[in-house]
Symmetry: C2
Subunit: 109 residues, 2 copies
Amino acid sequence: MKHDIATYQLFFGSLANPNRLKIVNLLREQGELNVSQICELTTFEQTMVSHNLKRLETCGMVHKRSEGKHRFYSINKESIAPLMKLIDTHMHKYCEHVLSKENKNHCNK
Amino acid sequence: MKHDIATYQLFFGSLANPNRLKIVNLLREQGELNVSQICELTTFEQTMVSHNLKRLETCGMVHKRSEGKHRFYSINKESIAPLMKLIDTHMHKYCEHVLSKENKNHCNK
DNA sequence: ATAACATATGATGTTTTTATCACTTGATGA
DNA sequence: TCATCAAGTGATAAAAACATCATATGTTAT
């Protein structure tokens, strides 16, 4: 397979942003949420959430479902969920030393 | 497990850069290489390569081995190699639409 | 048809990230 | 021990990514 650097960059860049990361982790935990719910739970502005959800959708990280006025977003379970698990494992093994102090201590599991 | 957003950001940010990505893919393909060899093969400047390798090392994506004047770097096979494979699969399924035209065509496999 | 609500889009000033420059450190051999 | 080669470091100007603002679109209810 041919490595398309620009696509890798788009993919990883999508997860290299703290706000998008929070949205992704929120959807991992909460399942399907609409934009307003994401705004409430994160205290982020609506426009920012929309912009970031669009980017996540472009990369196939989340799915979108319309219902009336609402747009419901959910994590791509088939692909992103297991991927994030792999990364969690990697981070535990290799990124301990860069964990911020507060989290280092009460990191149960 | 506790999600440390800053660590995720560091991790993904490391792969969200085209030059680091090229270095990572080079090490995936070529195995162990020293700094000079990476410079030659990529035509990147030495200082840039050193800076970027340091970041990759911080995240546990590459290993470093000293031999005389040289520093040999290699991909973290246990963790990053399988991770990149998962991502390759994801990109093929969900990121086709964002692939640059040139690569779309002669993307065998 | 119009108001109200939910979400999306485009433009832009600001912040963050990056490559490069000048320099340092460390190792080998003369 | 001095010169040379290999690699690393810190500062900074330039480039890229970002949040926000103003506005647009689409949907439901009145």
